[in-house]
Amino acid sequence: MGIQALNIKKSFGDFVALDDVSVDVHSGQLTALLGPSGGGKSTLLRIIAGLDQADSGTVRIDGSDATSLPPRRRDVGFVFQHYAAFKHLSVYRNVAFGLEVRKRPRSEIRRRVHELLDLVHLDQFADRMPSQLSGGQRQRMALARALAAEPKVLLLDEPFGALDAKVRKELRDWLRRLHDEVHVTTVFVTHDQEEALEVADELVVINYGRVEQVGGPNDLYDRPANEFVMEFLGPVTRLNGRLLRPHDVDVFETPHEGTITAQVERLQRIGFEVRADVRSADSNFWVQLTPGQIEAMGLAEGAPVWVRPARGAATIEEHEPPAMLPDPSNLSESAEK
């Protein structure tokens, strides 16, 4: 029950949302479409669901061509960022909706709805109206509703984007456990790299309407294909014209093979890590250390140090000023147009 999107192109006026994108989602997996807001990932999800039409390209669901099928014939469950609850229907009737429109027998509907409400821990709220639920509860209701008619694939568009940080983290863990229980092929869109790395089996990084890289969470973190992926997935520092993770820098108090000399400018402790701002002859960069390392080496502000990339560190050649980088202020935005 995999999904193939092949050579998808989509423009809104002059704006190219998707530029020849191909994605292959494996059956039974939990895949994240990750990227900055406005990068095209939501558009791709909506095209897979049939809620938007691609200008060109093919969508195959479970091996058969779904490109021109209306959404209701695609057997997909869709979860919206803002829940899209049916406000005039009770929680029970919301979840039952997909079964009622398919004219399933009443006894089957009752059994299935209670089964699902149980799964999302909302059985005691069956008779409430959506307005009487919290955001997290509403989103769980929306999930149960999407799963009711046993879709081949489950698509979630920034499902936790409208929730506060704590509920978000809870639901994230819960989604992972739910997926392990129901095993439905799932694709979710997020701009939060931590969410994607934590929950997904596979990540598809999308930026400016193009796929930057596809792979497992560790692959992408350790072997980013380019500067954008590296920057987007985690903190980055620059050493000797190379980009690398700030915890992938060896620091010594004496010269070692391959090291360059530098000076500690500032030490700032943040919880269990220490951020060391360092200056070498030709650049400023920062290194992530632990309080233990600082103590063992007796590092202090102003002390000379020798640094080199750690063995096996993922590094990338630095290009000219990165034009492709997302504006950091966009990354925290939850709404994607």
Binding site: F78, F80, A142
Partner: protein, 279 residues
């Protein structure tokens, strides 16, 4: 008592209270002078000569004919304006198309022009020497000076009422519920009956009540196209006006009372049901 003391002890609050009372007084005066007083006097005059006289004047053959005609025309106008009003409101809120803003402003035109103009325009199109009038007449269909013209004129003047009630509600609901319905396998009809209509039912009910009130009471446009044939193309307002000119004041007030009573009843019914449903 406690409230009085705080108001007395605080000049700012006292002033606020004065303003509030002044505003209330103005509003009450306004409604009394313009609505309550004339209606009360009219009701008084209706029953001045006893209930028997009232019953007689609304059960006379021409009164019964006028009442049934008015009800029939109103029912048709409500049906037509509900179906087309809903369609138009959905079109305006869910689709972008060239001419959308033109259509949007055209909808409001009927309330901004005099109803007499509406009547005259209908005659230009459907009258004996109008655009379609001649060919329709050859087919044996008469529109002007017959019931179809009354329905057309009534629809015309009440056209925006349903649309204008529905559009803001549909805009607020947005597209997500509709898309959720699609992805859950509901067909267009199922989405309309199960999602859209239940979500807009109170706005629709209000639009229908306004249409009903306007349709029952329409005078100008109907006057121009109806021909005012006693017992056949005479609606309730036309009958009331004719009785008044014929110096049958009591008869005019009786028929007016029926119209007012129907309109007030509808507003009360909606007002009673609406809050219950939303709790």
């Amino acid at each position: 008592m406690a409230e009085v003391r705080t108001i007395a002890g605080d000049p700012g609050r006292a002033q606020q209270a004065t303003t509030r009372w002044a505003l209330r007084l103005i509003a009450i005066l306004y409604v009394t002078v313009l609505v309550v007083l004339p209606l009360a006097v009219m009701v008084g005059r209706t029953f001045e000569e006893g209930i028997g006289e009232f019953v007689d004047s609304i059960t006379s053959p021409e009164a019964v004919a006028a009442i049934t005609l008015s009800l029939r025309v109103t029912a048709l106008a409500i049906l037509i304006n509900t179906v087309f009003g809903l369609t138009t409101a959905l079109l305006l809120t869910r689709y972008q198309f060239p001419g959308r803003s033109v259509l949007n402003s055209l909808i409001d035109l009927p309330v901004s022009v005099s109803p007499v103009i509406a009547g005259l325009a209908l005659i230009l199109v459907y009258g004996r020497s109008g655009w379609f009038g001649g060919s329709l007449q050859e087919l044996g269909i008469q529109i002007i000076y017959a019931e179809p013209a009354i329905v057309l004129a009534t629809c015309f003047v009440s056209l925006p009422l349903v649309v204008r009630e529905l559009v803001p509600v549909l805009e607020e609901i947005g597209l997500e519920q509709e898309q959720a319905g699609k992805s859950l396998g509901a067909s267009g009809w199922q989405r309309l009956w199960r999602l859209t209509l239940p979500s807009v039912r109170w706005a629709l009910a209000y639009g229908v009540v306004l249409t009903l009130a306007r349709s029952l009471g329409e005078f100008g446009a109907v006057r121009v196209v109806a021909g005012n044939v006693l017992g056949s193309t005479q609606t309730m307002p036309l009958l009331a006006a004719q009785r008044y000119t014929d110096l049958d004041e009591q008869g005019a007030y009786s028929i007016s009372f029926v119209m007012v009573a129907v309109a007030i009843m509808c507003i009360i019914v909606v007002a009673i049901f609406r809050p219950k449903e939303e709790q």
